[in-house]
Amino acid sequence: MSLPCNLTQPQENEYLNCIRCGLCLAVCPTYRVYKTETSSPRGRVALARKNLEGELELTPNLAEQMYACLDCLACNDICPVGIRPADLALEMRHVQEQIRPSGWKDTLFGELIAKPGRMKTATLPLRIYQSSGLRRLVYTLHLRRLLPARLRDLEGMLPHLPRRPLRRVLPEVTKAHSKSRYRVGFFLGCAQSLLFADESAATVRVLARNGCTVITPRDTVCCGMPAAGYGRMDLAKAHARFNIALFEKTETDVIVTDCATCGSKLKEYGQMLADEPEWVERAAAFSAKVRDISEFLMSIPLEKPAGRIEARVTYHDPCHLRRAQKVWQQPRALMQFIDGVDFVELPESDWCCGSAGSQLITHYETSLAVLERKMDNLKSTGAEMVASGCPGCQMQLTTGIKRRQMDVKVVHPIVLLDQAYAAEENSQ
């Protein structure tokens, strides 16, 4: 029953010292929904261990427990022993892929998502659906009522898609407005380019305004998170190598991203390629340069916007920003930097929203149940806007708000700053 020995698999020290204290159950969103040991971090560690030690087979059900994990990292953070159940769950997905590869993942992550040009093709039907006015038609005729609730939620989650992906519009070099003080590489993520182009356009404007010459390589491939999430660590590594080589050519001081998920993955490249002699140093050098947009902006002298944003704003911490990157003060500071912003803390702001990339599609009920808690908290703040620097979180929050018919706008913190600058220009 034991696994073939030439696999990449978790090391014994990753699970051996789990003392089964159960502390991680307290913070696990999936445990708190189902209240079963099977859906808990301690349970996932036990299942991984029992499989790796040959006591349990890697059945579809066992693998499913690994896929049901939201990768929110809350368990990693709280475990007093230093066990990382979230990492184990991802590694077990990889083990399963090595034993029983599913071919479609090659196509999806190796071809479609990895290559920006192809991804465009993949979202083409979506874009036609929107820009052809079909979306309006569907709305006006209340056709969405006819769709099952699930589809309606998915449809409602989509932002207005840009006509063309930002990657094709954004110049490869954007000059600094005034004297150029920093040479900044911009890692334009897939979701940002295809779904939230306005936000990334704002990111580049704000950077340029603050003395940055922004280099946006057009050929970047996916950061690797989706591939890793679906057990294709091998593809994620290939993406990493490609992106590293690409950015080496740009000779930038820092590499900025406005996607929490991309940021967390890019910062991991060093660790991911640690056992590849040819890459280890280059990967570490790359990762050391990566900054979330808020992290970078709050580390340089930032121009104070003269414009105001009059709104009650709250903030949801993306798991991949707060826990993976320990960036949580900066986005708050960035928004409070803007006059007029009435900032309120969201209770349990760092509790996962349930998005986890594609969980709303793959684990609809769990994802929604986790979202409910977020929505209760959001409601208690009375905020008109909720900011969050992650496309996945933004889509998930939008779904929650639509389902509850709340009047709250979802924004990226950077958009607020961009608008504050713009408000100033308008008034001049």
Partner: protein, 459 residues
């Protein structure tokens, strides 16, 4: 488990509340110890009525029923060694009524203790028992083990707050004990009987708990000592002076360095022992005066340094550290066995001295921390269970630890309970008469021996 039985269970609790896959059984095989044994099925009821029907079914089929909360137990009490049904109450977690007038709360016992505490605190009320596992244990588990915590010194243990219980008996009958009254001398105290019964006498499904007013102020001091003897003499001096701190916690050198390694709080690494002293109350001046007096006494008893936490953040930091001692030890070795022997307070220095001897004799580290105010010590042996030689030593060491406790006029367990791990030592601790009486109580309540069989009492 046979398919007809599964079908019957599904009929009672619904399909998603009966778990039978090998994966489910595997993860319901353990608790907070290293022991494990798979059940035949797991049932997650959502009401007392469902529990009653499940137990009736089990009684009819003579299948063991092992009640389980969050399995944070440290005595292998919820490990289903005889198979059967694990009855997991985590989905019975509603707060049914918060009676502010009488300061009583009525809950389903699957509620997480910290959640209950947070809910009542919203209304200015206070549920004092604070086991370190407060965020990962249930009220039901706390009652079934009569859990204690650092605050017990001043506020008492879980049982001191239980006014009444709803219990499902071994034949499925439902009984209510006690009520919202503080005084009650009608009949035997069945509430007390079920409290601490570790799932062997009945399944507790609901509880009425007494609440108090939340203390408005608390001050915490961290006191450093060059010897454990000095530290424990100080404990006695503080209590003799008429001060009842909310907590008086002791940590030895290894425990301190372990936390420091895990949490980087800036704890001193060159001291032999630390005392954590907290005073609390409704009035700021009183609370401050008490902590100052305690600090003076410490200094007089050769404390090396006394630091009073400046603010709430610092205070929370200290408590977070204390709560994470036990788990942080696991960084040092794959396994740890933590006992919770209790001795008369004055015997603490002697107990510590003898425990160190045991450690030296067998060559395995013992880390000591505990609730010095109640003489409740947690000696933790660190080892690697995969090494049969070490395991043999550990078993020997545990027996010696218990002998020390009993020799010094103490007992086997102050809070974790007997479960499976301490069962072999029960007769020596209690004597044959007491054990025989307890066996009769068990027999009269559970004649078929289906409720958590093989736990607590010897065969």
């Amino acid at each position: 488990m046979n398919p007809t039985l599964i079908a019957e269970l599904v009929k009672i609790v619904g399909k998603d509340a009966v778990l039978i896959t090998p994966e489910d059984l595997a993860v319901y095989s353990y608790d907070g110890t290293f022991e494990e044994h798979c059940p035949d099925g797991v049932v997650l009821p959502t009401s007392t009525e469902q529990v009653s029907q499940v137990v009736k079914l089990a009684a009819r089929e003579q299948i063991p029923v092992v009640t389980r909360g969050m399995a944070s137990g440290l005595a292998a009490a919820s490990v289903p060694f005889s198979g059967g049904i694990v009855l997991c109450l985590t989905r019975m977690d509603r707060l049914l009524e918060l009676d502010q007038e009488n300061a009583v709360v009525h809950v389903e016992v699957g509620i997480i203790t910290a959640d209950l505490q947070a809910e009542v605190e919203k209304k200015g009320l206070f549920y004092p028992p604070d086991p370190s596992s407060i965020r990962h244990s249930t009220i039901g588990g706390n009652i079934a083990c009569n859990a204690g915590g650092p605050r017990c010194l001043k506020y008492g243990v879980t049982g001191d707050y239980v006014l009444g219980l709803t219990v499902v008996l071994a034949d499925g009958q439902i009984i209510h004990t006690g009520g919202k009254v503080i005084k009650d001398v009608v009949g035997y105290d069945l509430t007390a009987l079920f409290t601490g019964s570790e799932g062997t006498l009945g399944v507790i499904t609901e509880a009425l708990l007494r609440l108090t007013a939340k203390p408005k102020f608390a001050r915490t001091a961290l006191v450093e000592f060059n010897s454990i003897e000095d530290a424990s003499q100080t404990v006695n001096a503080i209590l003799k002076a008429g001060i009842v701190p909310a907590t008086l916690e002791l940590m030895d050198h290894t425990a301190i360095s372990c936390i420091e390694e895990a949490m980087h709080l800036g704890l001193p690494l060159d001291v032999e022992a630390i005392l954590l002293v907290e005073t609390d109350g409704q009035e700021e001046t009183g609370v401050t005066r008490e902590i100052e007096t305690a600090a003076e006494i410490c200094t007089r008893h050769s404390a090396r340094k006394v630091t009073v936490a400046k603010d709430e953040t610092e205070r929370q930091g200290l408590w977070k550290a204390r709560r994470s001692v036990a788990p942080a030890l696991a960084r040092l070795a794959p396994n740890k066995l933590g006992e919770d022997i209790t001795v008369p307070r004055s015997a603490i220095p002697e107990a510590v001295r003898r425990l160190k001897q045991v450690s030296a004799k067998h060559g395995l580290p013992i880390v000591i921390f505990g609730h010095a105010g109640d003489g409740n010590l947690h000696p933790n042996i660190l080892f690697d269970k995969r090494d049969p030689q070490q395991w043999a030593k550990v078993e020997q060491m545990v027996a010696e630890e218990f002998a020390i406790a009993l020799d010094l006029g103490g007992t086997l367990s102050g809070e974790h309970g007997v479960g499976t791990l301490k069962r072999p030592y029960l007769e020596r601790a209690l004597g044959p008469v007491s054990v025989e009486i307890q066996k009769r109580i068990k027999r009269s309540l559970d004649p078929q021996n289906i409720l958590n069989p093989g736990k607590v009492l010897p065969d």
